[in-house]
């Protein structure tokens, strides 16, 4: 049980590192949005699933948080992309 938890936490951590590297290296906001979606969905879900495998009492709160982030991340990405497309977006 702990072995599966450690493996899932490692997967989530690798997705978060990849996401931050993508935010550093991608050229503009649309491609950076593609990178931040990784940390918000797969990264957090991996961490929560690993934590639930190690501490089984955690599973309901982890499921609530994971499903909320799974629903909230595309909405936030859509709103940020439409903010970038709009003419009010000022480049300094």
């Amino acid at each position: 049980m702990e072995l599966i938890g450690v493996a899932l936490i490692t997967i989530g951590l690798v997705f978060r590192i990849i996401s931050v590297i993508g935010v550093i290296r991608f050229p503009d906001a649309f491609t950076r949005l593609h990178a931040t979606g990784k940390a918000a969905t797969v990264g957090l879900f991996g961490l929560l699933a690993g934590a639930s495998f190690i501490m089984p009492a955690l599973i309901w709160k982890a499921l609530a948080l994971g499903l909320f982030m799974l629903a909230a991340a595309p909405v936030v990405s859509h709103a940020i992309a439409s903010a970038e497309r709009s003419p009010h977006s000022v480049r300094e």
Partner: protein, 93 residues
């Protein structure tokens, strides 16, 4: 079966890596050329903080700490959505 010493060292390594990941995100929240870059960096920052709280739950073995993560995720969702709609539409609602 994994020993408790290995799990403690693993938690510490994951915690230190996630705290180090906060630094480039904070730099991009200050620098980012457009307002959308800053917004997206702040959103990524709060997501990383929720991940840190998940590891803190495992270290302290206190499951009530996960409520803080749920609250931070909800407040960050509302805040980011409000600022993004203000930029794109000119008004929040």
């Amino acid at each position: 079966m994994i020993s408790q010493e290995f799990l403690n060292i693993f938690y510490d390594i994951v915690l230190v890596i996630q705290v180090l990941l906060l630094l480039p995100t904070l730099y991009f929240a200050v620098k980012g050329p457009t307002i959308s870059d800053r917004l997206l960096a702040v959103d990524l920052f709060t997501t990383l903080i929720v991940g840190i709280i998940v590891i803190l739950v495992l270290i302290t073995e206190n499951e009530a700490l996960l409520d803080i993560g749920i609250a931070i995720a909800a407040v960050s969702f509302i805040g980011t959505l409000a600022v993004a709609r203000y930029v794109s539409e000119g008004k929040v609602f």
